[in-house]
Amino acid sequence: MYQVRLPIFEGPFDLLLHLIKKEELNIYDIPVAKITRQYLEYLSLMEALDLEIASEFLVIAAMLLSIKSRMLLPKHQIEGEDEVEEDPRLELAKKLIEYKKYKEAADKLEQRFSFYQQIYTHSYKLEMQETDLVECDLFELLKALQKILKKKDGKMEILISNISLEEKMEYLQKLLANEEKILFLDLFKETRNKMEVVITFLALLELIRLKKIYVQQQKLFSEIWIFRQ
């Protein structure tokens, strides 16, 4: 059985470089007719396989065809000047060289990347720890907050709080300096309005983020405790 192996190309330049390499051609002296034919064959193969052809491939196809036709035209020399007309392939060659450079740089980067993936720093360890710890608890925290807001609904004054986030954070830290742990619910016992509940909650989040405190519960839906780090 004959099987078509279709390499995936990053773009038209990638495809052209592949064709040039396969045929062992010099980028500055591309046989345009041949390369154009192969290029278009590849596109029709993609089409036959129902693969979407990015518009960029078509742009370069048009460019190839235009170069091909320009090369077929007889070279006209302007009278009185012996300047030779520029090779219509030069612009494409320059682009390909430029692209090839970065393609090789990408290979070098890839090598570094796989090497450094095998090296573990201490910060990698710390990262793992953080996400494991906070993520599951925060969902519970939010649920707990909703409960508090519901409970306090109607009983609270509507006041613009004059307590800032900074002050609340300091207050929470002072509380924890004296106690090993505090019950989440207790933090909201004396809050007088919704704004203060929200600020207390935000302060809590910020302290968790700064790793000043952490929250724990023994099992799901049980009381939430706040500990100092």
Binding site: D132, E135, L142, K194, V198, E206, L210
Partner: protein
């Protein structure tokens, strides 16, 4: 695992990267050696650290072993932490972040209107910290840029998704 010294070095590396105390069982399982042998190697390592007068130590804790610093060095570590506190978000950054979180995608002008002050600096800080990102342009005159929160935002605040944010109208009604 035959080589004694090699095994000791592997244990050192494992203790270095482990996110929690490593049990003797776990260590001996990975190295395919007896727990008693693993214990001896850990003690040798600990002794070497001690004899070299290192600031690092290996301690037995919570049914396992962990690499840690000696307490005499805590002052130095404190100084390191002190400098890291600058990573903290300012109240105005927190405020801006909250606005973006709830009203995304949002333009800078809209943020400014809510806050009543120019937010150009804060928005840049939040971009730098990767808590917000550009997501396109609003289809109004001037085509202003639109900002949204990032995955990093969710991670930083330990949120499973944006829908896990408390509903704003639940937080402050009336």
């Amino acid at each position: 695992m035959k080589d004694h010294e090699k095994a000791k070095k592997i244990i050192e590396v494992l203790l270095f990267v482990a996110a929690e105390p490593l049990s003797l069982d776990k260590i001996s399982q990975i190295l395919e050696i007896k727990p008693a042998v693993a214990r001896n190697l850990i003690f040798e390592l600990k002794k070497e650290y001690w004899e070299a007068g290192k600031g690092l130590d290996i301690i037995e804790i919570a049914n396992g072993y962990e690499m840690c610093t000696r307490h005499e060095y805590s002052n130095w570590i404190e100084q390191l932490k002190k400098q890291r506190r600058e990573n903290k978000l300012s109240p105005s950054a927190m405020e801006t972040l909250a606005i973006i979180a709830y009203k995304q995608p949002i333009t800078r002008l809209e943020i400014d209107n809510i806050r009543g002050v120019n937010s150009i600096g804060v928005v840049q800080t939040l971009l730098d910290k990767k808590l917000i990102k550009l997501v396109g342009r609003k289809d109004v005159p001037g085509k202003p840029l639109l900002y949204s929160t990032t995955l990093e935002f969710l991670k930083t605040f330990g949120l499973p998704s944006l829908s896990a944010l408390p509903r704003i109208d639940e937080l402050i009604q009336k």
